[in-house]
Symmetry: C2
Subunit: 168 residues, 2 copies
DNA sequence: CTAAATTATTTTATACTTAAACTATTTGGT
DNA sequence: ACCAAATAGTTTAAGTATAAAATAATTTAG
């Protein structure tokens, strides 16, 4: 189960660090993580301060906003790339707070349908607008073509990683 | 305190979504998050399976690996971009497991110096090697120039975001 | 030379996260 | 019809994360 190409002996070009191979890939990962952490921290902070809301809760609403007829609960973990167990308390709380409803399916009593309420939708729209403008302000100094280029490149990167995961 | 340029009235070009402005910035953020989540999940899984270790613990060791004489404890939260309170239990556990030591400074008894042990260093090297090869395998299908290009672009993006945060 | 401000770190409260075990329900094979 | 396997969802245990309050030690100002 060889997941990795045998490290080619790079001997000639490596720098002062004797770390060995894969430096560029590791560096890319660290950049990716740093950018995400930086932006995520700021978004979290603002969600908290302005709306007393958390990002995972917002993410759930964002999914439901696109589905007027609601979603099977089990779809959420897949779309949000989080574990199922994780969503239970988050959904509980959103129901409790009146943003969404959770109704058991009549056809299959294991299944539950979650659906945004009118107030939920209203609250989401308001927050989504701020969310967009926060991002725009954070990324204001990144030229538009660079933004578009990165979108494309990261899409491809995501695809490449997914493929690699599939194969393993 | 205008953080955001007033949304220019895009009226003409917007697509089927009436989301409004900032679409590209939001899309970029979602891609960034998706890539990071995807890779992070896989790295976490492998750390767990192969070494029964977690990423935050590895991150602490990675910082200390570069500092043979140890680090002031307070440096860690800054470098790792996590909160200070968060590190206390992580450092506790690393000490307990013998990977690092924590000694109070003689000059300033508020300060503690953390330093990797020999076994810690050995364990770290072993894990770092795997970490690198996991990343290489995940990113194997991303061409080398693309990797290098992304490193640079993300570096600039990080700088731009940091500047934006500074100003706010 | 002491009171007040500052700094380093820990503690507390709340929330998120995963993996794995568990419950309830449905489905497919016999 | 029955029972084993599969599926949907929740619960549990351990760990990670933040913000904010608390503690302790040091520095600074008067």
């Amino acid at each position: 189960m060889a997941l990795v190409k045998e490290p080619s002996p790079v001997t000639a070009k490596d720098g002062p660090d004797q770390d060995g191979e894969y430096r560029a890939q590791t560096r890319l990962w660290l950049r990716l993580l740093a950018c995400t952490t930086l932006i995520e921290g700021e978004l979290r902070r603002r969600f908290r301060e302005e709306f007393d809301f958390t990002m995972p809760r917002f993410d759930v609403l964002a999914q439901l906003d696109r589905e007027p007829s609601g979603l099977v609960l089990g779809e959420l973990p897949k779309r949000l790339m989080v574990s199922a167990g994780n969503l239970t308390p988050i959904v509980d709380r959103l129901v409790e707070d009146g943003y969404i409803t959770r109704t058991p399916s009549t056809l299959d009593r294991r299944v539950q349908i979650v659906c945004m309420t009118v107030e939920g939708r209203k609250a989401f729209r308001r927050m989504a607008k701020s969310h967009g403008s926060w991002l725009a302000s954070l990324l204001a100094d990144v030229p538009q073509e660079r933004v578009n280029g990165l979108i494309e490149e990261l899409d491809e990167l995501k695809g490449a990683v997914r493929d690699a995961l599939q194969k393993s």
